[in-house]
């Protein structure tokens, strides 16, 4: 395992814990996006650039935005 791979693994572990530790769903959506980017860096470090590319779009954009949109709908419903 190279230094870069070990660093990426560590970063992913820390970011994953942060996602769980964040209680407010709004903040959690943002932290999930950053976690997704960390995961993409890890995939790149273990020589899977194609998976990293998908991960950037799905993990850092699609999932957080879908969560935000769902939250917007729920809030509007609560008002």
């Amino acid at each position: 395992m190279t230094f870069l791979q070990a660093t990426c693994l560590l970063v992913v572990a820390v970011l994953g814990t942060l996602v769980v530790a964040t209680r407010d769903p709004l903040r959690q959506a943002a932290v999930t996006g950053i976690f997704g980017l960390g995961l993409a860096a890890l995939f790149l470090a273990v020589e899977a650039p194609d998976v990293a590319l998908s991960q950037i779009v799905v993990g850092a954009i699609v999932v957080p935005v879908l969560v935000l949109l769902a939250m917007a709908k729920i809030r509007e419903h609560d008002e």
């Binding site: 650039p49 194609d50 590319l53 799905v58 954009i61 699609v62 935005v65 949109l69 917007a72 509007e76």
Partner: protein, 246 residues
């Protein structure tokens, strides 16, 4: 169940799961060591049989092509279900369109999005088209293209646009991709007697038009994935931005 009892059950279950995970991880090969024969076999046969250096693409579209066909149908069914659930009914729609003034994104956000649409779209198309030459392919490229569509939405006249693209067009793109992959599989069955078997000229390894059916499959998957992701986004946006009639 009391809080105490619940904590006890949870901790016991976590302890067992943790112990089993530790046992499983200690039984793994060391980091970076690959024990199985399949990868080595593929590395030997793929360059001659498929005229491509991309073992992953060859595995996805030929050696395990049947799995990909199943995944395509799962994605298609999942997106159809999502679209059916989120579809805005006529009774839900607002009375007069475009009347309520919605917040428009800042000029900087719009300029940035508009500037990135073209390059991201080209990158996505490049990744799809070169799936048999470089890492990437239909799924990676497809989601990048969907990202470009999303940028077009963000860079457009803000939220007034309401959706990522015409829903009919996105549905058509997704269906075309799914049908295209199915047609590719069946064409192999008709031409050679085996589902998904290559029936096109293999060409020279390393050229854009080579590796037989692999690039065709990549384009079909790219169309389906781009359509699927953008369609789900559109449906979510439409629901989220719909204002409840008071």
């Amino acid at each position: 169940m009391t809080r105490r009892a619940r904590s006890f059950v949870a901790l016991a279950a976590l302890g067992v799961l943790g112990a089993v995970l530790v046992v499983a991880v200690t039984g793994l090969e060391p980091f970076g060591h690959y024990p199985g024969p399949y990868g080595d076999v593929l590395a030997k046969v793929v360059p001659d049989e498929r005229h491509t250096g991309q073992l992953v693409a060859a595995t996805v579209f030929d050696y395990r092509g049947f799995d990909t066909l199943g995944e395509e149908m799962i994605l298609f069914a999942a997106v159809c279900g999502c679209a059916a659930l989120l579809r805005v009914l006529r009774s839900e729609r607002e009375e007069d369109e475009g009347a309520p003034a919605r917040p428009v994104p800042s000029f900087a956000a719009r300029a940035m999005s508009a500037a990135l649409v073209g390059p991201v779209m080209v990158l996505g198309a490049y990744v799809v088209a070169h799936g048999h030459l470089t890492p990437g392919g239909g799924f990676s490229g497809g989601v990048v293209v969907a990202g470009a569509l999303l940028l077009a939405y963000a860079g457009g006249q803000g939220l007034r646009l309401r959706r990522v693209g015409s829903i009919t067009m996105l549905e058509g793109t997704e269906a075309l991709g799914a049908a295209g992959f199915l047609a590719l599989a069946l064409a192999g069955l008709i031409a050679t007697g085996a589902l998904l078997k290559n029936f096109l000229a293999l060409g020279t390894s390393g050229m854009l038009l080579s590796a037989g059916t692999i690039p065709v499959g990549n384009v079909a998957v790219g169309l389906e994935v781009a359509g699927a992701v953008a369609l789900v986004f559109s449906e979510f946006l439409e629901q989220a931005l719909l204002e409840d009639p008071e």
